[in-house]
Each structure stands twice: as C-alpha cells, then as structure tokens.
C-alpha cells in the first residue's frame, strides 16, 4: 500500500490534465532541463511535485494512522514571442510607411508573457480551489486543502523568447496508514574473509554465512 501523498499527487495530475482542455500541459515530476519552445503559448507547462511534508508529533497514534501535512508545488512555465504583421515585415515590396505601421503595432513578448502567466496561475488556482474538487479527485477525504501562495519570478533576461516561471504551493492534510515494510529474506553471503592471525596455519578463521568457523 502506497502512502496517500503519492496517490494524491497522481490524482492531482489527472485532475489538472482533465481540466486543461488544450490550454496547458501537466507534468507530474520535475524536469532537469527543457527548451523555451516546449512551454510556448498553450504548450505552457505546470509541473506538479511533492517538495515535502510534515508529521506533527502527537497527531497520530503510536502505530498509526498518522497525520501528514502535505505541501505540493505547482511550477508554471510559459514563453511567448513578439507578435507583428510578418506579411509586411517579410515582404520586400512593402513600403516604408507600411513597415513603420507594422512596427508600431507590434506587441512585445514581455507584455504578452506576463498576461499569459497571470492567466495560467488563475486557471490553476480555480481548478485546485473549485468546490467540486474538494477532495482533489481522491475517493477518500482530503482535509484543509489550501492554495497558500502564488509567486512569479522575473522574466529570463536572455533568449529569443520571453520566458516566465513561477509557482503556486498548496497544502493538504491526509491520514497515512502505517503498513510497515516486511522486506524479503535474502540469501546469506559467503564473505570469504580470512582474519589476521599470528599463526595462520592453526588459527585461520573464516567468516561463513554470518558464523565464525575455526578449523
């Protein structure tokens, strides 16, 4: 039996994935590296992971169940390009005034990505705090689920895309049942180690299968 925080994370990933409707992608782990294009426009990504939890002393019985105050992180990344009328800028026969108008009407990526990230955080918050998702898709009760913070980082300074990251954190409370880990019995290992003896001929001691045999 797995601990509840693991099934809860899987449930949240499914919940967000079902609610995405093509507006974003959900990934249930942290990624080592990504490309700016992977999070472009509606390919923006929310990565859900468990950065840790607490087991308050005295909040469970000696042998369980134990109270587990879980924190989940929702790291949101989105990138945008500048938007302009390329049919004019890329057209060699366009006039100077047409090009000037296209440049003046250009929307900057820095502005667009800020709006896109705010909208993204809005969507994620609304899904997580929706009253219909009180138990975050779990069959069992989830207590005190609460999005406690949203933070946005500065736009990355380098690159041909404007890229914004940030995260929301959510806390929840579940009961963890302690089933114990019985493990498996392994075969004993012949260490084959000869211990030092001043007289090896007579006192050669070999450790075999955890017992000392002198011969």
């Amino acid at each position: 039996m797995t601990m509840k925080f693991r099934t809860l994370k899987a449930s949240i990933v499914t919940l967000l994935g079902n609610a995405a409707a093509g507006r974003f992608r959900t990934v249930g782990y942290q990624e080592k590296a990504q490309t700016g294009d992977q999070v472009l426009d509606s390919s923006r990504v929310v990565r859900v992971f468990y950065p840790g939890g607490e087991f308050p002393l005295g909040s469970g019985s000696l042998s369980g169940p134990m109270q587990h105050d879980i924190t989940f992180a929702f790291r949101m990344s989105v990138s945008k390009t500048n938007q302009a009328d390329l049919s004019v800028l890329d057209n060699d026969s366009a006039t100077e005034s047409q090009r000037q108008a296209a440049i003046l009407a250009m929307e900057t990526a820095d502005d667009l990505v800020d709006d896109a990230w705010d909208e993204f955080a809005d969507i994620i918050y609304q899904i997580l705090m929706d009253a219909r998702n009180l138990d975050l898709g779990m069959a069992t009760r989830v207590g005190n689920r609460w999005v406690e913070s949203i933070t946005k980082n500065p736009i990355l300074g380098k690159g041909d895309l404007a890229l914004l990251t940030g995260q929301a954190t959510m806390t929840a409370r579940v009961e963890e049942i302690v089933t114990g880990e019985t493990g498996t019995t392994v075969e004993s290992i012949d260490m084959g180690v000869d211990t030092f003896s001043p007289d090896e001929e007579e006192h050669d001691t070999v450790v075999r299968s955890g017992t000392l045999n002198e011969y």
Binding site: G36, I103, L104, A105, T108, K158
Partner: protein, 133 residues
C-alpha cells in the same frame, strides 16, 4: 601604415563579413530598410550571427535551452546606428540558421541591456516574432 584602428577595422571585416558573415537587414522604426553595406554598396550588409545557448532561471535553478540569436555588425557598415534608447522598435532580419540558403526571418532587437559596442562593432540580441492574429 593605417595605424592600429585601421588594422582593427580590417580585422572586423574579415571576422564579421568574411567567411563567418551572414546577410542581415535592418529596418528602422520609420520603416527604412538597409540591405547593403555602407562601406561598399555592392556588398550585402553582413553580420556574425550566433544562435543557441542554455539559460538558467536564477530563482529556481531550472535550465532552459533557448535560442539566443545575436548579430554582431561592423559599425562602419551601418547607414544609421540604432538609438540605444529605442532599440525595441528596430527590426533585424537574419537567416533562420547558418545553413546555406536558410530563409530570412524577422526579429525584434532586444531592448535588454545585453548589447554592446566595442572596437568598431556592435552586438544585438534578437527576439523572435510570430505572425500577429
């Protein structure tokens, strides 16, 4: 003997417009387009264009592989040096990649303070533009 500055200028030509050079076009905020070198109107305006890099989110430590296109141009080849206070209204058209025959793509010159002038050259960092809806 043209002196050190003349030697540097000749070196800039070799480095930026010789074998490493790729054709670029600059469009001013007023819509004026420069396609030929101010030093020699029979030659295309050229730049040393560099493409890719890895950047790191300083807050989260996450790595993002991003296109980070830059164009380094010999200042003497420019009809007009873009005003540094108005860079975000300049367009630089550069090849999509450094492969022969790659299509020219329009970029916005980045207004971030990462461009630089030194020894007769100027480097501009370029941002992608998509077709507006």
């Amino acid at each position: 003997m043209g002196g050190l500055r003349a030697i540097i200028e000749a070196d800039q030509y070799e480095i930026l417009e010789g074998d490493f050079g790729l054709p670029v076009e600059l469009i001013s905020p007023a819509g004026a387009k420069q396609t030929k070198s101010a030093n020699n109107p029979t030659e295309d305006l050229q730049a040393m264009v560099v493409y890719c890099s890895v950047t790191q989110d300083p807050i989260t430590g996450e790595e993002f592989v991003m296109g980070n296109t830059s164009a380094t141009i010999r200042i003497s080849s420019l009809d007009t040096v873009p005003d540094e206070n108005n860079l975000e209204k300049w367009i630089c058209r550069a090849p999509e990649s450094n492969l022969v025959g790659a299509p020219m793509v329009s970029h916005k010159i980045s207004s971030a303070p990462v461009h630089g002038k030194s020894f007769g050259r100027v480097t501009y960092y370029l941002e992608r533009i998509a077709q507006s809806s």
